[in-house]
Amino acid sequence: MKRVSLVLTLALATGLSAQGASAQTLKTIKDRGMLSCGVSQGLPGFSSPDDKGNWTGLDVDICRAIAAAVFNDGTKVKFVPLSAKDRFTALQSGEIDVLSRNTTWTLSRDTSLGANFTGVTYYDGQGFLVKKSLKVNSALELNSASVCVQTGTTTEQNLADYFKGNNMKYEVIAFASADETVKAYESGRCDVFTSDVSQLYAERLKLANPADHVVLPEVISKEPLGPMVRHGDDQWFDIVKWTLFAMVDAEELGVTQKNVDEMAKSDKPELKRAFGTDGNLGEQLGLTKDWFSRIVKSVGNYGEAFDRNVGAGSKLGIARGLNNLWNKGGIQYAPPIR
């Protein structure tokens, strides 16, 4: 891990690719024939490889949707697994074109890293996982506990704020990767494992006996997770941003992976605009007229991707909650395609 960050830092320092990639990301990707997408090192539901090396997950589907919009082929993606602490350097140095790796949108990350968040793929919050045998019902009962956390995340600061704010003492043990953190939690080094709630559910699946562990009800922070792109290429920023919006709008318009061809023939004005049978909105983005149907054909709409990866149709079984559409009680909302 140290070596990776060292190499990335050197690449950044010498600016090997940073300047070349700044203006024409789309052209670079087309020339390369592949989208390079930074993902996690294995977080079920968001980005994890199976035994054949096929990546799946919500974050992975964002990458595939972008690749579909550019190449009309959702498989033209090179996935680059990154640790929490290496992810920004990889984006800055031009190693990846987009970072789609359960990354929390904060002001300092949006301003000081030379990168922009393009939207929110998942509204999350930080929580606590404990063993049921400890008989703890609330995070406020965690005074003097030992807490395992993955380093290089917003989690460490939230944790410090929460315990300080509630006048509680704790001991923090920070590990470089999620796997090491979970292993230490499982071995009893810590009473508590803290992370984003979605990640707690995902990591719980990896434990020997998932049913012996419980996620506490408290959510102590706002963690809006979203993709990031480098500063300096507004066209690419727009493409990544509108790929997610297209997925959300598709759900709102009732367009699914199955009925997409049928819906493309619809006479409804908003569908005609989206499918490019009326106007050339896709071309304004620098893509093709059929960009919208390419995306939906490849990964489905936002709701389908959510269900398949983290929702009811997955092992995680997380409820839509905040991530439901704005008109269905959630806060997922995309500007109109017009």
Binding site: A13, A18, F88, S112, S146, G152, T153, I173, A174, R189
Partner: protein
């Protein structure tokens, strides 16, 4: 027309030419100058290019972040530290943790290394085979694997805090570490420290006096009863007069963990054990090579003087072997220090973990932080080398 003989170049010019250009003279000097200029140009380009790129992408640069509040906590801090301190403080917390593990690791690695080397050279068949087996086993396994082994093995074997292994109700061993009573200074503390210092100084003076008597006049004086009396008696008497120097804060199980007392965290123990046993295997071979490099005749000469095997080793063989041992030993010390950065795998808060890890990802200032971290490791290594070189210089001087 008279031909004037050419003046020979002055001695100074020749010397200058040689120093600057080596055997190739001025031509060599120009080449060297060019080489340095190219190096400087490359360095300048790297810095300028990085600056321009950072500015173009509006990535924050500079060292201003060091004054910002860190906002996260660290599990082991030798200096007082809370989440509301600055990143500068985090840097020192991490640096001290790195130094602590390095210094203690070097100490144990050296001790174990010498013992194993002597064991391997011992005429005792069993002892030498066990020592040989230790070396071959330990030095052939990757050190990261050994660190994880000690960490997970230590943790897996230990009970949770509520089922701690208790020794006399004062020491508690559990998977959160070893909890011991913490000494707290009482009014009698200062006189006690003064008494100990006086006793140490007096003992040293006495020892030097005895040595001079031995070397100059050949008189052997038995001083150990006086030394013992000084070192134990004086502090004891002070404690009786001024009251006990310290009282102990007893650890008590409260909630999840022990409150009160001091604690040795398992990450520290695992890392120290792994690094010192691993490095000890290399040191053992270095020491063995050093001892074998001393001519057999030296050993035989010592024996024929009637010295014990231990005395022969201590007084004759090892001082000569040190000249051979020292340079590779320095390498091992440097390796241990650098290997301590593997701490990040088991959550020990060393410099790489808290500074090049957490701080880097919170501020995103990779170039500055990696630069500082590399500089610090370089500095630690250079200082270690300097100390070892000084020691080596003293040895070779004393041997003439």
């Amino acid at each position: 027309m008279a031909i004037e003989p050419r003046k020979p170049p002055s001695q100074l010019v020749i010397k200058l030419q040689r120093t600057l250009g080596g055997r190739a003279g001025w031509g060599g000097f120009v080449l060297q100058l060019l080489f340095v200029a190219v190096l400087a140009w490359i360095a300048y380009e790297i810095v300028a290019n990085a600056r321009a790129n950072l500015q173009a992408q509006r990535i924050t640069a500079g060292f201003g972040f060091l004054q910002n509040t860190a906002g996260f906590d660290v599990s082991q801090n030798l200096i007082p530290y809370t989440g509301s301190d600055t990143y500068t403080r985090v840097f020192f917390v991490g640096l001290l943790n790195t130094l602590l593990v390095s210094v203690i690791g070097i100490f144990f690695a050296t001790v174990i290394g010498f013992i194993v080397a002597l064991g391997r050279l011992s005429p005792n068949w069993l002892l030498s085979r066990i020592s040989g087996g230790y070396v071959e086993l330990v030095r052939n396994l990757p050190v990261l694997f050994q660190i994880l082994f000690w960490y997970l093995a230590v943790l897996a074997a230990l009970p949770s805090p509520r089922q701690s292994i208790s020794v006399f109700g004062m020491f508690f061993l559990n998977n959160r570490g070893l909890v011991v009573p913490r000494p707290i200074g009482d009014p009698g503390f200062e006189p006690f420290v003064v008494a100990v210092l006086i006793a140490i100084v007096a003992a040293l003076v006495l020892w030097r006096y005895a040595r001079r008597q031995l070397y100059q006049y050949g008189r052997m004086i038995t001083i150990w009863p006086y030394l013992l009396g000084l070192l134990i008696g004086l502090p004891l008497v002070t404690a009786l007069i001024f009251g006990p120097p310290v009282s102990f804060e007893m650890p008590v199980l409260r909630g999840f963990n022990f409150a009160g007392g001091s604690r040795l965290i398992p990450e520290f123990v695992a890392l120290t054990v792994a690094l010192s046993t691993y490095t000890a295997a290399f040191i053992a071979e270095i020491v063995r090579a050093g001892i074998l490099s001393v001519h057999k005749g030296q050993m035989e000469a010592g024996s024929s003087l009637g010295l014990h095997r231990g005395d022969v080793l201590r007084l004759i063989v090892i001082p000569q072997a040190m000249r051979v041992i020292l340079p590779p030993l320095t390498n091992q010390y440097l390796n241990l220090t650098k290997n301590s950065s593997l701490a990040v795998a088991i959550g020990y808060p060393d410099l790489v973990s808290v500074f090049a890890g957490t701080t880097l990802s919170q501020t995103g200032q990779a170039i500055e932080i990696i630069g500082i971290t590399m500089g610090v490791y370089l500095l630690i290594s250079l200082v270690t080398s300097a100390i070892m070189n000084f020691y080596g210089w003293r040895i070779s001087r004393s041997m003439g």
